[in-house]
Symmetry: C2
Subunit: 235 residues, 2 copies
C-alpha cells in the first residue's frame, strides 16, 4: 500500500496526464509533482477499501479502475468507472466521498496521490484548477444520474440495453465512424451496474445475440445494432 519510489520524471508524466492540471505550465506541474507520490497497481488489485479513510485524492494517470459498494447481502453495486485523467477520492473539501467504497483496478494502472493539506494549499486556490475540478465532478454527477435512470427502468432487457448503449458511446475508443461499438465488461460487472444478477444478464445478452443486436465474446460485448438497442432501452 506504500507508494513505490519512482523517478521525478515518472511523477511528472503522471501528473501531466491529469485533466485538472491541463491549464498549468510545465514549471508549475513540476512543483506539484514534488508532493504527489505515484502508485502502480495491477489489474484486479484493490487500491482502496472501506474504513481506510486516509484524507487523500487519487488521480488516475493510466489504466482504468472501478468503484463499487457491497450491499448488505453481499452483492456488488457499481458506482462508476474512472477513466485516465480523472480524479477521485475521499475528500470532503471537494465534496467527494468513498464511504464504504472499494476501488479496484480493471487494468494495470498508474495513480498519483495527493494529501488533504496539499490539496487545500495547491488545488483550491487556483481558478484554473478549480474550474477543471468543477467539470470533473460535474461529469461524475451526470454519469451517476444516468446510472440512476438506468436502474429505474423496469425490465432487465431495458436496463441491459440502456447500460450497453451508454458505456459504448461514452467509453469506447475505437476508430470513429465505425458502426460497431465495443464494450469490455463481464456479465458479473454488468449485473452490478444495472442492479440485477449475473444469470439474468447472461440470458438477456444471449437473447440479444440471437436477434443479431449484439455479438458476445468473453468479457466483451460488440454492439451491432445501435438503433435496436435504443429501441429496447425505451429510447
Amino acid at each position: 500500500m506504500d507508494a513505490v519510489p519512482v523517478s521525478t520524471s515518472l511523477r511528472f508524466q503522471c501528473l501531466n496526464a491529469v485533466e485538472i492540471f491541463a491549464d498549468l505550465t510545465a514549471a508549475e506541474l513540476k512543483a506539484f509533482s514534488e508532493v504527489a507520490p505515484v502508485k502502480e497497481i495491477r489489474a484486479r488489485e484493490l487500491l482502496y477499501s472501506p474504513h481506510q479513510s486516509a484524507e487523500v485524492i487519487f488521480m488516475l494517470s493510466a489504466g482504468r479502475v472501478k468503484l463499487y459498494h457491497l450491499t448488505p447481502d453481499g452483492n456488488m453495486l457499481h458506482r462508476g468507472f474512472i477513466q485516465p485523467g480523472a480524479m477521485f477520492g475521499e475528500m470532503n473539501v471537494i465534496g467527494q466521498t468513498m464511504l464504504g467504497c472499494y476501488v479496484e483496478a480493471v487494468e494495470d494502472s498508474l495513480i498519483c496521490v495527493m494529501y488533504q493539506a496539499d490539496v487545500e494549499r495547491l488545488l483550491l486556490n487556483d481558478v484554473r484548477i478549480l474550474r477543471r475540478i468543477v467539470n470533473s465532478i460535474g461529469q461524475r454527477l451526470i454519469d451517476t444520474e444516468y446510472q440512476l435512470y438506468i436502474m429505474a427502468l423496469k425490465t432487465a432487457l431495458e436496463r441491459v440495453a440502456a447500460a450497453l448503449l451508454y458505456m459504448g458511446l461514452r467509453y469506447d475508443q475505437r476508430t470513429p465512424g465505425q458502426e460497431t461499438l465495443r464494450v469490455d465488461i463481464t456479465h458479473d460487472d454488468l449485473a452490478a451496474i444495472i442492479g440485477t444478477n449475473r444469470e439474468t444478464v447472461t440470458r438477456t445478452l444471449n437473447e440479444m445475440q440471437r436477434e443479431g443486436t449484439v455479438k458476445l465474446g468473453r468479457g466483451r460485448v460488440l454492439l451491432h445494432d445501435l438503433r435496436r438497442l435504443r429501441e429496447l432501452s425505451g429510447q
Copy 2:
C-alpha cells in the same frame, strides 16, 4: 415564465440566501443582484420542463423544489430535492445538466436566475465562489450516489427504510436532540425515489406503522425507531 419585476431589495435578499455567495461582501452581492432576476413560484407549479434548454442556472432562495424524470413508460423517477441556498440548472460550463428533467415546486418558492454569460464572467473567476460550487456539486453527487445505493437494495422494505432514514437525517429541521424525525413526503413521491409504485409503499409503511417503527400522517412520516429503521435497511 417571465421573471416577475421585483424590488432590488428582494433581489438582494434572494442572492443573500444562496450558499455559493456566502463568502462575498454585501457590496459584491449587490452588484451581482443587478443581473439576477427573481422568480416566484407556487407549490406544484412547474419551473422547468424538457427541451426548454435555456442556458441558465437557478438558485433556490426559499422553499423547496424537486427534480424528476419521466421514464419511457410514464413513471416518475426522482432525481433529488433542492434545498434553500442550493443551485441547480442546465449549464455545461459547470457540468450540470437537466436533460429531460422536470423541475417542480414542492412548496411556494423563491428563485434567482442567472444566465450563461454572467455565470462565466462573474462566477467562474472567483476562487471563493468556485470553492462553494465544488462543494455544492459534490453534495449533489453524494446524494445521488446514496440514492443509487438505495435503489440497489432488493426488497421494497429495505428501500423504504433506507430512504426514510436518509431523508430524515438530511432534511429534517426539527429541534435537535429529539428522537422523532419527520419526513414530509407523499407515498407517491417516496415511490419515485425508491423506484417502486405507490401501492407497495403504502403497504410497506403500514407494516412499519403496525410494528411501531413509524407513525403515518397525510403527506408525512414520523420516524420513531431509528435503530429499527437502520436494521430494516440492512444497516
